[in-house]
C-alpha cells in the first residue's frame, strides 16, 4: 500500500492490520516517553486546503510521535485555491523532500488526482476530500467501536484497553449512522469500512439528505430514527454533524441557499437528534460516537454528548494512534522507486 485514499482501499485483513498496528501504537502513548524514533528523517507535509484544526493537529501529533519532520501548509486563505495550483503546490513540497502528503481538500477526488496524475511520487494520505472520503476517520471510528464492542461479552475484560479486540473484526455488530449523509465523507468512509469489517450499517436521515444512488451502498437506509433504535437496538450510534448552511429557508443567501434540506433546526432535532429519551432506548452496552465538532442541541443533546455512553473524546485520542499506524504502514518500508 502506497496511498490511503479511500476506506475502500482496505480489504478486511488490511483493515484489521491497520487497527492492530494502531493498538500497538496506542500502547506506547500511555508511557511517559511517547516519542518513537521510527520515522526519523522522514518528512510529512500536512497540505490543508480547508480549515480543520482537529484533523491537522491529530496528523501532526501522530507524525511527531513517530519522529517525522512535519511541515504544515495551510493553503486556504492564500492565493492558492484552484486548478494548477494543487499540482504546483504538491510539486513544490515534493521538491523540498516530502515523503508523504496528508491532504485535506474541498474537492472530491483531489487526493486521488495527487496520487495518480503523475504530479508527485510521494505517498498520499486523504485527510478528507469534499463529500467523498475521510478514511482515517472511519479507521478511528472502527478502532473505537472494536475496542468497546468486538468479541461481544466473551472479550477478555482483563486485557489492557488498547489490546482489546486485537485481530478481530466487527462481525455481527449493528451500527446506525445518523444525519447529513448526503454531504458526509465520514458516512461514505464508514459505510465502506464497517461493512468490510462485517458490521451491519443502517443510515438514518431525512430523505433530502440521502444521496440518489445510495441504494447501491452496502447498508440499509431508514428515515425514522425511533424505529431504528427500537427495532434494531444498535450497538453503536454515530451522529453526523449537520452544517448550519444546510438548514431551512432563510439560512444563508443567494440562489444556492434559498431552499434548505429540512424545514427547521427544531424539526430536525425532533426527528433525528440524539437526546436523553433516545439514549434510553439504546441497549445498555451501546456507545455514542460523533466525529466532531458537535452542534450541541441540534444533532446531539448535551445529555447524550456528556453521557457515559459517549466515546467522543476517546475517538480523538484513538485518532492519533490510528494516524500513527497509517503513517507507519505507508512510510516505514522500502522506498519505492518512481522513475
Amino acid at each position: 500500500m502506497k496511498h490511503l485514499l479511500s476506506a475502500g482501499d482496505l480489504d478486511r485483513d488490511a483493515a484489521i492490520h491497520v487497527l492492530d498496528t494502531a493498538a500497538r501504537m496506542a500502547a506506547t502513548q500511555g508511557r511517559e516517553m511517547k516519542k518513537l524514533p521510527t520515522l526519523r528523517g522522514r518528512t510529512v507535509v500536512n497540505l490543508f486546503f480547508e480549515d480543520s484544526t482537529r484533523t491537522r493537529i491529530s496528523f501532526e501529533t501522530a507524525a511527531k510521535r513517530l519522529s517525522a519532520d512535519v511541515i504544515n501548509f495551510a493553503a486556504k486563505g492564500s492565493s492558492v485555491s484552484k486548478g494548477e495550483s494543487l499540482k504546483d503546490t504538491a510539486q513544490t513540497l515534493q521538491a523540498m523532500g516530502a515523503d508523504a502528503v496528508v491532504i485535506r481538500h474541498p474537492a472530491s477526488g483531489a487526493p486521488h488526482r495527487l496520487a495518480h496524475s503523475g504530479w508527485v511520487g510521494t505517498s498520499v494520505i486523504n485527510a478528507g476530500d469534499g463529500t467523498h472520503q475521510h478514511p482515517t476517520q472511519a479507521l478511528l471510528d472502527a478502532y473505537t467501536i472494536r475496542q468497546h464492542l468486538a468479541g461481544g461479552p466473551t472479550h477478555d475484560p482483563t486485557a489492557e484497553p488498547d489490546q482489546r479486540g486485537l485481530g478481530q473484526d466487527l462481525a455481527g455488530l449493528r451500527i446506525a449512522i445518523v444525519g447529513d449523509v448526503l454531504h458526509s465523507r465520514v458516512a461514505r468512509s464508514n459505510v465502506q469500512l464497517l461493512h468490510t469489517l462485517g458490521a451491519q450499517v443502517t443510515l438514518v436521515a431525512p430523505p433530502t439528505l440521502v444521496p440518489v444512488g445510495a441504494q447501491a451502498w452496502p447498508c440499509d437506509v431508514s428515515y425514522h430514527l425511533d424505529e431504528v433504535l427500537a427495532d434494531q437496538q444498535p450497538d453503536a450510534i454515530m451522529m453526523l454533524r449537520v452544517q448550519r448552511e444546510r438548514m431551512g429557508a432563510g439560512a444563508g443567501s443567494g440562489p444556492s441557499h434559498g431552499t434548505g434540506f429540512f424545514p427547521s433546526p427544531l424539526e430536525y432535532t425532533r426527528a433525528f437528534g440524539l437526546d436523553a429519551r433516545r439514549l434510553r432506548m439504546l441497549p445498555d452496552h451501546a456507545i455514542v460516537l460523533h466525529p466532531g465538532p458537535m452542534n450541541r442541541g441540534l444533532e446531539i443533546s448535551a445529555d447524550a454528548a456528556d453521557s457515559a455512553r459517549a466515546v467522543i473524546l476517546e475517538q480523538v485520542t484513538n485518532g492519533v494512534a490510528v494516524r500513527m499506524a497509517v503513517l507507519y504502514l505507508l512510510l516505514a518500508k522500502e522506498k519505492e522507486t518512481w522513475a
Binding site: 492492530d20 498496528t21 500497538r24 500502547a27 524514533p37 521510527t38 489490546q163 504502514l329 518500508k333
Partner: protein, 201 residues
C-alpha cells in the same frame, strides 16, 4: 529469528544440518538460568524481556527454570516482551514489518537488572534497537543479554552475557530456530530445533 541470506558454503556441517535438538536446547537454557542467578546473586530485581517473536518463549522458559531453583519466585512476574520494530534502523530496507507487543512487568524496569532474551545474535542491530526501546521505557540498573545462539558477524560493539551455543557460520548460511510455542504451523510434531541451512559446498 532467522538471519542472513539463504544459501551456501558452510565449512562445517551439511545442508539443513541440525545443530541443536530439543534436549540440547533445554540443557542450554538450564545453564543460562543458573548463570543468570549466579551472576546476579539471585532472582530479586531481575526482569527477563523477550524480544518477539522467539525471544519471548525463551524468556518464559528461562523464568520457569529460575522458579525451579528459587521457589519463591513467580515466573510470570519476571517476564515481559520488548518489541523493537519501531526502533530498527533498517525499516527502509524491508517491506513493512508487523509490530509486536511490548509488555513490561507491573513493577516496570526502573532500577532493575533487565536481561534481554533473543534466539539468535547476529549483527547486533536488533539488540541496539532493543537498548533504545528499553531506554524509552525506563532506566534499568543494568542490562544483560542472553541468546540461544551466537552466530558471529557482529556489526556493532555488542556481546552476549549468556550464550546457549556459539555457532561459527558463514554469512551465506541461514540459522533457523523453531520452538514449539511459536511455530505450530510447522506441523503438529514440532520439536525445538536449531538448524543451519544453505550448505552448498
Amino acid at each position: 529469528m532467522s538471519s542472513g541470506p539463504a544459501l551456501p558454503v558452510p565449512a562445517s556441517g551439511v545442508p539443513g544440518a541440525e545443530v541443536l535438538g530439543p534436549a540440547e536446547i533445554t540443557r542450554a537454557l538450564t545453564r543460562i538460568a543458573h548463570e543468570i542467578l549466579e551472576r546476579n546473586k539471585g532472582a530479586s530485581g531481575i526482569v527477563l524481556l523477550g524480544i518477539p517473536t522467539r525471544g519471548l518463549p525463551l524468556a518464559h522458559r528461562l523464568a520457569a527454570k529460575i522458579a525451579e531453583v528459587e521457589p519463591d519466585v513467580d515466573p510470570s512476574s519476571l517476564v515481559g516482551s520488548l518489541d523493537v520494530t519501531m526502533y530498527r534502523d533498517d525499516l527502509h530496507r524491508h517491506p513493512t514489518r508487523t509490530i509486536g507487543a511490548t509488555e513490561v512487568p507491573a513493577d516496570g524496569v526502573d532500577d532493575k537488572v533487565v536481561v534481554l532474551v533473543d534466539d539468535v545474535l547476529f549483527s547486533g542491530r536488533t539488540i541496539r534497537a532493543a537498548l533504545d526501546a528499553l531506554n524509552d521505557l525506563g532506566r534499568p540498573r543494568a542490562v544483560q543479554l542472553a541468546v540461544l545462539v551466537d552466530r558471529g558477524h557482529r556489526e556493532l560493539p555488542i556481546r552476549a552475557d549468556y550464550v546457549g551455543k556459539n555457532l561459527p557460520t558463514s554469512l551465506s548460511e541461514k540459522v533457523r530456530v523453531r520452538l514449539s510455542e511459536t511455530d505450530p504451523d510447522a506441523g503438529p510434531q514440532v520439536v525445538d530445533t536449531v538448524r543451519i541451512d544453505g550448505g552448498e559446498r
